[in-house]
Symmetry: C2
Subunit: 258 residues, 2 copies
């Protein structure tokens, strides 16, 4: 028995893909990586990710695992990453790191913290350089008010208000460990970039995007922090704001206990 | 006589364009803006930029000017920018700012300082998210050594070693006011981003890209600062390094005395 489990860290531009998960007839990140693995070792290997990012969502640090039988030959993480990358090119997907892990390691069920970033460009002018990478909002947003209100979401809650109808999780209760909203200059003419960061052990489907779409109401001055709390407590998706577009969302990192 | 001169600040992703300058049969930034202006006012208006960026080069703050006869109607910079942007969409070009200027204002000849940035991602793994926006180099680079050596280029020099054969400037002498090379983490697995910034009143053709391509030799440890100085003093393009790819270059801002 020479099968070994590998953990990989993956960066990708989700713009050209129908999300992480393999589906018939459309390109997916998972399929691209599995095909690259097949070219490398002629084995059909299933790759399991920490989180199944949606169509258009990007990753700076997605994590996945798979089992590979490489016989008695030695294989370093560096060489494995290099080989997969060679077969992935020119796809906008890069294996940043590969390491052999214990057979108990599970990218999805073993994760104890995930961090997402959501990028908004807030200015009148349309996007030049960052099309497909941020959400453009031209109405002025108050990032300070968004940050203050967002803190009512901290801790353990039933997040049904921010849960997509197609969410497959049995339970809408999650524990949000950190959420922050910060602003910085984006261009030299008053445009600002608003960065929303959220950390939790796990998220329900569309949770970050639905939270962002709702925080916009606070940023526009239409909602107070109390309104946000009332929406959360309603446990009703129709009480929340819009689903922010996928293209502004980045899975930044996934942490494990080992 | 109701013609007024306007200054505009433009952000663009140069990846899909054959550079700033209008040419037959290929898309250019200039043509896209002139066509948008035509749709707005039904006038064929020539737009003059501060610098004619090459194919693939990006801009966070290109500046241009043009003359527009809008009759006696009032027109604010905000409304003009908005109107041009509406006609530009969905092109990755955005007018960030428009203002009426004196008829003496000239985007190219009036500029007293231009700042370019050049972005390198230095790591083993290929590019995921930043394809078309940075130069990927997998051999390890020493940004500190590059920064130290780069200072020999400061001041007034004959920059023929860094001048493209097609450069139309009469004189290869330029004054480099600032150059810096800095590094920062790019990913969580040792990848670094190296940022080169250069400021001057004006540059000769490919000057920044040729300097960057030569500084790489220093970063790799093949060249010392003295080697760079000798290359500069040779005033001979064949003594310099490669031309760095266009996609890592950004025209960040252009300054005027008024």
């Amino acid at each position: 028995m020479t099968t070994k489990r590998w953990k990989i860290v993956i960066e990708y531009n989700g713009g050209a893909y129908y999300g992480w998960q393999k589906q018939p007839d459309v390109p997916s990140i998972q399929q691209a990586i599995e095909e690259a693995l097949y070219k490398f070792c002629q084995q059909k290997i299933a790759v399991q990710a920490a989180g199944r990012t949606d169509a258009g969502v990007h990753a700076w640090g997605q994590v996945a695992h798979f089992d590979l039988d490489y016989g008695d030959r030695s294989l370093t993480g560096y060489d494995l990453a290099k080989a997969i990358n060679a077969h992935l090119r020119p796809a906008p997907i890069s294996i940043l790191h590969a390491e052999e892990v214990d057979n108990e390691f599970h990218a999805r069920f073993g994760a104890h913290n995930k961090m997402y970033q959501y990028r908004i460009v807030n200015r009148a002018g349309f996007l030049g350089l960052d099309q497909g990478r941020v959400w453009h909002i031209n109405r002025a947003l108050d990032a300070g008010a968004m940050n203050e209100a967002a803190q009512v979401l901290l801790g353990q809650h039933d997040f049904s208000t921010f849960r997509d109808a197609q969410c497959q999780a049995k339970n809408p209760v999650r524990t949000l460990d950190r959420i922050s909203v910060t602003a910085r200059p984006y261009d030299a003419h008053g445009g600002q970039e608003i960065l929303i960061e959220a950390e939790a052990m796990s998220f329900i489907h569309h949770q970050v995007r639905n939270i962002v779409g709702t925080l916009i109401l606070v940023g526009e001055g239409k909602w107070s922090a109390d309104d946000l709390r009332a929406a959360l407590e309603a446990k009703d998706r129709t009480k929340g704001g819009v689903t922010a577009p996928a293209e502004g969302l980045y899975l930044v990192r996934v942490e494990y206990n080992v």
